[in-house]
């Protein structure tokens, strides 16, 4: 058990930067910190398989590294599968010239992870066809292989790793370790570590022949072969927690969904977790109700040609349901890995598949359970279900990433949302912003907005983020901050720079940092600010914990206009802008509050929300009219009373 390590991680400040490990590998994620289970025999209908190497020879004979592609290719059309999988291609097949991708960034060349700059990892993918691409792709795979299943742009180095998703106990931790060491050929074998079929032996693995059948095959039960599990999705997408022990998380940039949206896919109740959530006792809701109700990731993000899950439409227009389906054998040979997807603001890859997933209304008959809701259909047409059913997030979620000054660990300064001074998580309410729907309409959707500040330069390759190496060279000497930086930023004059002091909020500080960057080789460095919205579609709660009070939206100062903090501090003279490929409208006004924070004051200009939307001109006009009439009537009445009294007095 490594509880001490988990506990230690939880004690790290929540304004942190993830430190690199000694070997320079990405830090282990919370999921990877879970104890590795040894293979329990899992029932499986899959026939025994023969593990094969890259030449197709059984590994028990050759002793070489296993190749998932060659192993599975006997029955499944692996080449076809890889050709129909945005998980392997990561957008490389949608490449454009630099600066032409939907993000609008001058250095991006694709809408996917491979080619779209990731402000959290500061990763600049090499562009196919550019000089030294082969060298760069190896380095990229070492650093970013933790979120790449293999194949695609790195096909020359790393096979598509079927084992990673289709083995119940795939060992991702070991796989990532071997990728990080550049031992790509053994990555598939490392994924089998928990099966006990092979043991590490220096820079290779030794197959344990006694664990194989006499004919060289391996029972599927030993491998735990089957459909992908939620756990496998969690390797790259976020925390999936299915253990009975109280859940404890450390902040981890590798758990993207959790890090960016504060959500966890777990059936465990928040009140039963070991997280320091303020008011936890009252939060007797699961982290995600779908996890509690045994709905898996693949239930919604299914294979489009899955005989049971596919919509069965798309045939002749007069058919409401097309009963003709792919035979199960054909499906198993060529399961389409272009998984059904939503169209959240951050999921920009494979946009033709946007909205192909089974959304809430695909399973739920919402009108039946919203009889209490006035104008239910109007609500459904104006907002996504998540607007009420993802009312708050209780895992630490990122608010801003500041690369303009590096921490002592050479990482970005990261600030999380709604963390109290005593480190208790308060939870945050997502901001509701209008999202562009596939049918062209707009609906309010919940989002977290993460602001990133970073330096860009105009290099010979065009505008791009200043390389991390340049930043380190500019700001540090012998692994300590340069004296001129300390002089400029050390507010408390203690001779050291705290994380809270790493803010370039004055012209002088910006000039000092800029001069250092120029001296380190950066060309015309300028600070850029960017807002990346993250649509929140997981962490769903039942109606009991959803937003039910009308006043949440139908008051003048409701959550629809609730200020949403974008950044705790702002570099001098910089205004962030929305990334170009966000399919939502950043309606509202950016302003600084009394604490100097950058705040979005959202509006719902395109919607009329009763109780919230109003025209001051009409209300003032009406009020003036009413008051005038009342005043006129009162004055007239008063004069009548006086004149009547006067007349009575005058009468004899």
């Amino acid at each position: 058990m490594r509880w001490w390590l988990v506990a230690l991680c939880s004690l790290t400040p929540l304004v942190v930067s993830a430190s690199e490990t000694e070997a320079g590998f990405p830090p282990p994620s919370a999921e990877l910190l879970q104890p590795r289970p040894r293979t329990p025999a899992q029932p499986s209908l899959h026939p025994p398989i023969t593990l094969r190497d890259s030449k197709g020879v059984a590994v028990v004979k050759s002793g070489e590294a296993a190749s998932a592609e060659r192993t599975c290719d006997g029955c499944h059309d692996v080449r076809w599968i890889e050709a129909h999988s945005y998980h392997t291609k990561l957008g490389a097949d949608e490449s454009t010239a630099r600066g032409r991708s939907p993000s609008g960034r001058a250095w991006d060349f694709s809408p996917g992870l491979f080619g779209r700059w990731d402000p959290m990892s500061y990763d600049l993918a090499p562009m196919p066809g550019e000089a030294k691409f082969v060298d760069h792709i190896a380095e990229w795979e070492k650093q970013q292989g933790w979120r790449h299943v293999g194949g695609g742009p790195a096909a020359a180095l790393v096979d598509g790793n079927c084992f990673l998703c289709h083995l119940r106990n795939a060992d991702n931790q070991t796989r990532v370790g071997w990728l990080g060491r550049g031992l790509f050929a053994w990555a598939d074998t490392a994924t089998l570590a928990s099966t006990g079929l092979a043991t590490e032996n220096g820079e290779r693995w030794q197959w344990r022949k006694e664990r194989f059948e006499p004919d060289g095959s391996v029972p599927a039960a030993t491998l735990g072969l089957g459909r992908p599990t939620d756990r496998a999705c969690g390797f790259c997408h976020g925390v999936v927690y299915q253990q009975p022990e109280p859940m404890l998380l450390a902040t981890d940039p590798h758990q993207r969904m959790t890090e960016t949206q504060g959500v966890v896919f777990s059936p465990q109740r928040i009140s039963d977790s070991a997280m320091n959530v303020a008011g936890k006792d009252t939060l007797s809701l699961p982290w995600d109700v779908h996890a509690e109700r045994l709905v898996s990731c693949a239930s919604c993000h299914f294979s489009p040609n899955h005989p049971a899950y596919s919509y069965g439409t798309g045939g002749p227009g007069h058919l409401r349901f097309d009963a003709r389906r792919v035979e199960i054998t054909e499906y198993l040979r060529r399961p389409d890995h272009q998984f059904a997807k939503g169209q959240s603001t951050q999921a920009t890859v494979a946009s033709p598949l946007d909205g192909s997933m089974r959304r809430c209304e695909g399973c739920h008959d919402a009108p039946k359970v919203h009889l209490w809701l006035p104008r239910a259909e109007r609500h459904f047409s104006a907002m996504l279900c998540e607007s009420c059913h993802v009312s708050a997030a209780y895992a630490p979620a990122r608010q801003e990433t500041d690369w303009t000054m590096l921490t002592a660990a050479h990482e970005a300064r990261v600030v999380y949302r709604e963390i109290r001074d005593d480190r208790f998580i308060l939870g945050f309410r997502p901001v509701l912003l209008p999202r562009q729907q596939p049918d062209g309409t707009r609906k309010l959707a919940p989002n977290n907005l993460v602001t990133t500040w970073f330096w860009t330069e105009k290099s010979s390759e065009g505008t791009r983020p200043v390389p991390l190496e340049t930043l380190v060279r500019a700001f540090f000497t012998n692994d300590t901050y340069r004296p001129e930086l300390v002089r400029a930023l050390d507010r408390d004059n203690d001779g050291r720079l705290q994380d809270s002091e790493l803010v370039l909020d004055t012209a002088v500080k910006v000039t000092v940092a800029s001069d250092l960057l120029i001296a380190a080789g950066a060309q015309s460095p300028t600070i850029t600010g960017e807002i990346q919205p993250y649509g929140m579609h997981h962490g769903v709660s039942t109606g009991r914990f959803a937003t039910r009070e009308c006043s949440a939206c139908h008051t003048h100062d409701s959550r629809l206009s609730e200020p949403f903090v974008l950044a705790s501090s702002v570099p001098f003279g910089v205004t962030p802008r929305l990334v170009g490929d966000a399919n939502l409208v950043l309606q509202g006004e950016l302003a600084r509050d009394a604490l100097g924070r950058l705040v979005l004051h959202p509006t719902v200009a395109n919607l009329h929300v009763f109780g919230h939307s109003r025209s001051y001109a009409i209300d003032i006009t009406g009020l003036v009219l009413l008051i005038s009439v009342m005043a006129g009537a009162a004055t007239h009445a008063l004069l009548r009373v006086r004149s009547t009294r006067r007349r009575r007095k005058e009468q004899p």
Partner: protein
């Protein structure tokens, strides 16, 4: 003085029902419009009640229209071109001066002639412009989802709602004025009593005629 039946039982019941529903519509409307500043039923309940009252008011209005058409009473709502301006000026002069000097009312209302020329003009505007606008915009807001294309053609829900709110303000002002003017009868409570009991004491014909002539 003579005692005449000014309002039939139907007219009185209709009037007070309409008054009650309009006041409740205004109150629930205020709660829907500014739920943070005014709390009566709660937003959701206020919405339900507002919609129900609106339907009732529309039905009541149509009943009244039928009644006035069937009985011919609708004629008294239309001002006659003959003497229109002189009557209007006389009425305005009375409200601005005569009422303070004890001058006789230039218009003596009777069972078949209840509205003076200013009232006729006001009712003509309220019943033919403000009320239809209020009803139409209300229905459009109610059916905004189903009739979205129509609502959008009219400028969207924003514009429709703004017209609805403006009409509500006008109705509120109209009610204040209406209630105040009920006190301008022979005695401050004469008109109100008539609308409650149906009977009102009127001057005899000769006196009324002289008063009317003097006012002209």
């Amino acid at each position: 003085m003579k005692r005449v039946e000014m309002y039939s039982a139907f007219e009185r019941v209709w009037h007070w029902l309409q008054a009650l529903t309009i006041i409740l519509l205004l109150l629930t409307g205020v709660e829907i419009h500014a739920p943070g500043g005014f709390h009566l039923l709660g937003f959701a309940r206020a919405t339900w009640v507002h919609e129900a009252l609106a339907l009732f008011t529309i039905a009541n209005a149509f009943l009244a229209l039928f009644y006035h058409l069937a009985t011919g009473a609708i004629r008294q709502f239309f001002p006659q071109p003959r003497d229109f301006f002189s009557l209007a000026i006389a009425q305005i002069t009375y409200y601005l001066r005569g009422i303070f000097t004890g001058a006789p009312h230039p218009f003596v209302h009777e069972p078949g002639r209840k509205l003076n020329v200013l009232q006729q003009v006001t009712y003509l505007l309220v019943l033919n412009l403000v009320l239809p606008a209020q009803v139409v915009t209300g229905v459009l807001m109610w059916k905004a989802q189903e009739w979205a294309p129509l609502v959008n053609r009219l400028g969207g829900l924003h514009q429709v709602a703004h017209v609805h709110v403006l009409c509500a303000w006008i109705f509120a002002a109209f009610i204040v004025m209406h209630v105040y003017l009920t006190t301008t009868g022979r005695t401050p409570l004469a008109h109100l009593r008539a609308m409650v009991l149906g009977w009102e004491e009127l001057p005899d014909e000769k006196a009324a005629h002289e008063a009317s002539h003097e006012a002209k």
